[in-house]
């Protein structure tokens, strides 16, 4: 199964992302926890593109492709902004620091890496491409019963 969403690089577009993810999770009968986490991961990934990929004030599009094959769910986020590898370049996050020493930012890619099973990046044909994969177990898909 494959679904695709195209968004403008505006914060207001994130509500469309939420709808897309909720609909996808519903189609795949994913449980509430996984649906929440996928929503979170994609919000973080798309927000990074919206905030940093393009010069302020410029309108561009980004695309999110979702592929479900077997027990693997793959998301590929593509934009034509400035080349940036969040996997390699995102700052390390020390979650043990006290509040006074915790930096205010830098959590987005960390959250993505914590939740997803595989996260990879490539710059291909002028596009940043962030691939995020999650294995879907039987337990994470809610049972559906047909009633007549």
């Amino acid at each position: 199964m494959e679904r695709q969403l195209t968004l403008y690089n505006r914060v207001e577009e994130l509500s469309r992302l939420t709808e897309f993810v909720e609909q996808l999770c519903d189609e795949l009968s994913l449980d509430a926890v996984l649906s929440f986490n996928l929503n979170l991961v994609l919000e973080e990934a798309v927000t990074n593109v919206v905030n940093y990929a393009y010069p302020p004030g410029e309108e561009h599009t980004l695309t999110l492709k979702a592929q479900a094959e077997g027990d693997m769910l793959t998301f590929i986020l593509r934009d034509q902004g400035k080349p940036f590898d969040p996997v390699a370049q995102a700052p390390d996050v020390d979650t043990t620091l006290p509040a006074s020493e915790r930096p205010i930012g830098g959590l987005g890619i960390y959250i993505i890496k914590q939740i997803m099973d595989e996260v990879s990046y490539q710059y291909l044909d002028g596009s940043n491409e962030l691939t995020m994969k999650k294995k879907i177990s039987q337990q994470q898909q809610t049972e559906t019963t047909d009633t007549e």
Binding site: V11, E12, L14, S15, T18, A32, V33, F36, N37, N39, L40, E43, E44, T47, V50, V93, D94, T95, T96, L97, P98, A99, S100, R102, I104, G105, L107, G108, Y110, I111, Q114, I115
Partner: protein, 100 residues
């Protein structure tokens, strides 16, 4: 996302409802200003109706936490839904706040 602030027996309470995500962050930053202004006091954040939080929201709560720490106040967070709580845990934010 709404933040409702009230006084309750000397405690300043903020009730969060909805999604504290990127889209809501800018308005929430404004709405929480009364809490920042009272960072020397005990602040209780009731998250029973908070349905979602992302790093944008965590960032604002950390800002508030830093303010209370520097001004002699404190924050207690209560009634956090399980999915939201795990975001605090994943990011290490769980140890930065007092939860009940």
């Amino acid at each position: 996302m709404t933040l409702t602030i009230a006084e309750d027996n000397g405690t300043l309470t903020g009730a969060l409802a909805g999604r504290l995500d990127t889209a809501a962050a800018a308005q929430f930053a404004k709405d929480m200003q009364p809490l920042i202004d009272n960072a020397h006091r005990h602040i209780l954040l009731d998250c029973e109706r908070l349905t979602f939080i992302s790093s944008s929201g965590l960032r604002l709560l950390l800002t508030l936490r830093k303010e209370t720490q520097s001004k002699g106040g404190d924050i207690t967070i209560k009634n956090v839904p399980a999915e939201v709580k795990q975001v605090f845990t994943i990011t290490g934010f769980y140890t930065l706040f007092h939860f009940v």
